[in-house]
Amino acid sequence: MNSMTNIKYVSSLVENRFKVIKKEIVSEYQISFEVDKDEVHRLLTLLKLEGWIQLSYLSAIDWINDNEYELVYIVMNWEKPVHVQIRTRISRENPSMDSILPIFPGCKYYEREVHEFFGVKFPGNPEYAKQLILEGWDDIPPLRKDFDPRAYSDAHFAKREYTETFVNLNNEKSKQVKREKRKERIIRVRKGGKK
């Protein structure tokens, strides 16, 4: 069982039939393809027929500078052990992607979660809009890059106030000597010297 032949096999399988925008061999057991949004379903169907029958992971990435979401599907074949990442980009304005529920029924809850955390719609999955993890959420979806959890936390939850004043030991003389020594050592190490 040579792992590189498996990589070559899946690579030729996909590249012969689909327009791959970007291919990347991540490690000896993993390969990643970036394809167009419309081709994902056909590609996943093909891979499922070829033995990639387990949906390992489904999630999204928020590329806020490109104004795009990237959806990631990871499928796994246990006979030819290769994880295939399939990535596709969708627009960040009114994001929507057809559900892959007919191909992989296991995606039901992953899609619900992606909808909850990113706001991506999945027409075709009847329950994608139900809340799963959050309860009574009243802000933008929390895993988007423009959501600041710290501000939300400050606004909603009371923080413990520490009224005691602490002594700043850093200004003591012995500490300063030590710090100088440490700095010198770091400089020496960075230049390639010994400890």
């Binding site: 990435i61 052990p81 029924p105 296991g106 809850y109 799963l132 895993l143």
Partner: protein, 368 residues
Amino acid sequence: MRELKLFLGPQHPGMHGNASIHMFVEGDIIKRAFLLPGMLHRGFEKGMERHTWVNNISLIPRVCVVEPDINEMAFAMGVETLANITVPERAHWIRMIVLELARISIHLMAYGGLGSPTGNYTMMYHAHADRNSILNIFEKITGHRVYHQYIVPGGVRKDLPVGIEKDINDFLDDLESRYVEYRDIGIENPTIVPRIKDTIVLPSEVVWELGVTGIGMRSAVNKAYDLRKVMPYARYDQVEFEVPVASYSDARSRVDLKLQELVQSISIIRQCLAKMPEGDVRVPLSRGQSMRWTVPKGHVYSCVESSRGEFGYYMVSNGGTHPYRVGVRGASYPQGLLGIEKYLPGTRIDDAALWVDTMGVCSPEIDR
């Protein structure tokens, strides 16, 4: 008959962890059920984006509470793939020892956990007592009982302490000598067997539909689908071990597989202790400036075999000091959410807790 709604959890002695199974029952039979997760949601993936790569080492063990080491391993493997770090040889072996000890501990805990839904508390007490001695060994190795932060990108944090081999060997001998006793009081006990035999069966056709991995899958499809075998990480290709399988997945066979895996783990640790070479255990990531250490651009999905199945981290780096996005594939995601919704109906109230225990539903990794 009137349909009643019962809650198994979040505060319920039969529920492991903080999640709630809503069951609609008629008599004792469950008609409809679903899991309501999210009570352990702490914004984990967001939190990891807000910490540097090195700071995240202290955050990752807290994803799955019962088995923290696999998180560290998956994270370390992912970072090593992205940053192209070669780990010293000795570190691989130490990692394997720690991972297998953790696997024994979680299997003991799950086996003891079987005592709670079936009512045999003596078995639970014995298993937890043994698990505590593993935690003591961990305290000697890493300094912590539960969250070790020991497996770090680039190796392990420090070398094994002197004389730990004796402690580990003593523990393994003790555990092995009482293996028969464990079987007798648990899965071969005539009062427990009727409870766990032929209950909550997972048919082999639906494994792929759900996406169940780990013991749940191996007990149904009768194939040695173990990530340690099919895509070996660390030095699992250099030790000899078998992956126990079964062709019929009921509660009893799943627990049986757990016990057999425990024996295999014992043998792996013994081999590791014998074969472990001398040498360094860690390559320095950066020279003194770990907080400003950057990882090259890339996407990686790194996964390890946990006691519940394939546990993976999907990591994206944009070349900065912080991860751009980290996604966690909880190993019990499929059996916890879809499995409960589809395969709990038709069973009895008594069996719901058994599903949670034997399939290993771990709510912190579902919620994150």
